[in-house]
């Protein structure tokens, strides 16, 4: 438990609260944005940083003991695997022909000759 009268625990609580704010903002972006790629952008970046801050709070709370080392391992895994998974999903979605939002200004991946382009790709309404 966290005792907010203790300044060390107060710092931990501030870190974890900042992480919660990033998480919830990322989830709201996942619901509100118009497109697969926009949703992936908002969700992945905000939620990864939020979980990173929460795990940093756990490390600060317990030091490098039995819990802290596991938190370091978990932080490394989250920081490496979450952007990789997001990149794989975005690449697969573009190559499978999921369309961009009609308000998108450019599509560099299709201009480079990758993915699906031309009449095959279709636009989606928000």
């Amino acid at each position: 438990m966290l005792d907010l009268a203790n300044p060390h625990h107060l710092l931990v609580a501030l870190l974890m609260f900042a992480g919660l704010c990033f998480d919830v903002i990322g989830c709201v972006g996942l619901v509100r944005l118009p497109d697969v790629y926009n949703r992936l952008q908002a969700g992945t970046k905000c939620v990864t940083l939020g979980t990173f801050l929460i795990l940093l709070g756990v490390i600060l709370r317990y030091g490098l003991g039995a819990i802290g080392v596991k938190a370091v391992v978990c932080l490394f895994f989250v920081a490496v695997t979450s952007p990789t998974a997001a990149h794989a999903i975005a690449r697969a979605a573009h190559r499978a022909g999921f369309g961009l939002w009609s308000g998108s200004v450019c599509d560099r991946y299709a201009e480079d000759g990758q993915g699906r382009r031309g009449p095959g790709s279709r636009e989606v309404a928000p």
């Binding site: 438990m1 819990i67 979450s82 979605a93 022909g97």
Partner: protein
């Protein structure tokens, strides 16, 4: 304090689940499943501070790896879909 953090993470999880239910394309559902995995790792971390036991941190480590493998499998399935056809 930690109860408030847990409730906030549960609220964010329900937003992600709403997108997984509502999502117009299969890619939206894949994105929601991926993000729900990372969110649950944070939930396990807050649960570790709430209870003071290291059991939940082990669950978080395993969950992060399994969510990564699941996201890669779903991405490979998505790539062969040819959604526009």
């Amino acid at each position: 304090m930690t109860v408030f953090l847990l409730l906030g993470l549960v609220a964010g999880g329900f937003l992600v689940l709403w997108r997984a239910l509502r999502g117009p394309t299969p890619a939206d559902r894949t994105v929601s499943v991926d993000i729900l995995g990372v969110l649950m790792v944070g939930f396990c971390a807050v649960l570790t501070v709430h209870t003071g036991r290291d059991l939940y941190m082990i669950v978080g480590v395993a969950w992060s790896l399994l969510a990564f493998i699941g996201s890669l499998a779903l991405a490979k399935y998505l790539e062969g879909m040819h959604y526009d056809a």
